[in-house]
Symmetry: none
Subunit: 123 residues, 4 copies
DNA sequence: GTGGTCTAGACCACT
DNA sequence: GTGGTCTAGACCACG
């Protein structure tokens, strides 16, 4: 589940955030269990603890988890909702990309094909 | 036409590239016509000549223009074609974005609505 | 290994590119090994970091290395292959040069002698 | 005969020099007739007179022609010889290029094929 | 520590 | 006038 691509041009801490979001969506993390500790997980992933620390800070900043001093980090009860509502803010980016593609001559059919393949047969 | 945001996190030279691509698409620049000179435009935009130079280099690298030393930079005759064919390589990015949105609970209908609004009434 | 001629009419950053290509061919740099850092090498060669940066950018553009932000630059695994296939695109230049030499009265034997000396005794 | 490529990255004045050298080799210019005047030829080629002037200066500097004040420029009697002997100085460049191609994995056979095609069937 | 970007200002070659 | 290259030095993001 925790696979990061160090060769990617996407910063590692952002990859970590995505991984956590995906994990939360898939229900991988229980609400009453602490998230992996910085020390343990950074060692497991062979990444710099500071990098993981930064990812956790951002996750916390987004309200997806909270810290109980001396105990650990726990998922917020509304983590899932927050992720979903945050997704809608990215719809603007989608609009921008589509506008750009359209202006460069990409037809609606070609766009549609991509969408259908992602949401394939979602009757 | 030339408005750049120096505070943006997207580099100025990338903004410039986008601006030129847009200008080429809109027919603002004619094929084999000279593009604005580095000195003149950099002064007009209050940016460093080197920054504009870098943007031009990348634009040239993409085959959108060619340089005649001592004379100036000229739009390639096939600039528009190149921009269009390059657009299709971005379809992968669209797929990634859609996959992410889907995993975060965005329904196909909501996606569809955005597409339709961009390509509105494309009968 | 790193000797550049600042007085040469060939730009420093092109000299650097050639040096790296040679180094890659000679196996001086191993795949997925970090290349010298911009700061360190530019200091060692007494050149401006920006100049080396530009050389690295072009090298990266050719797919010979990749960058991990905050970490460093690493040699691509297929760097050698790319250099070799790029060489074949230069065969046209060879043809042009030969055509010019021929038109100026250089005989085939004289050309042949040069080739044989480069590929001496290639039984 | 006089065709220059303004889009080329080869400076126009260098193209002009090559054109004259080719013309001299092919016997296009008679020894007792003046070379085209700067004004006339620059107008015919739609190039800047200064550029042609510079080309003539270089040609003259190479001893291929000489100026008779008030009359015009005339071919040197040994122009052909000078061009041919100058060609041999370019053999070094050929050697460099071959060495580079060899180091990048181009085989002798592939080089040989180019030579044979240029000097085809020169029995 | 690493690379990425930007500015300021200089010098060169070409037209 | 044009573009091409280089230096010096600054600030930022990432690990």
């Amino acid at each position: 589940m925790f696979s990061i691509d160090k060769m990617s041009r996407v910063p590692i801490y952002e990859q970590l955030i995505s991984i956590f979001e995906t994990g939360i969506i898939s229900g991988e993390f229980a609400a009453d269990e602490p998230l992996p500790s910085v020390r343990a997980l950074s060692q497991q992933l062979s990444i710099n603890p500071n990098t993981l620390q930064r990812a956790y800070q951002e996750i916390e900043h987004r309200g997806l988890c909270y810290t109980v001093p001396g105990s650990g980090r726990y998922l917020s009860t509304d983590a899932l909702d927050r992720i979903r509502s945050a997704a809608f803010e990215r719809m603007d980016d989608l609009g921008s990309m589509l506008t750009e593609l359209k202006s460069k001559g990409v037809s609606k059919d070609e766009i549609q094909r991509v969408i259908d393949s992602v949401y394939e047969r979602q009757v």
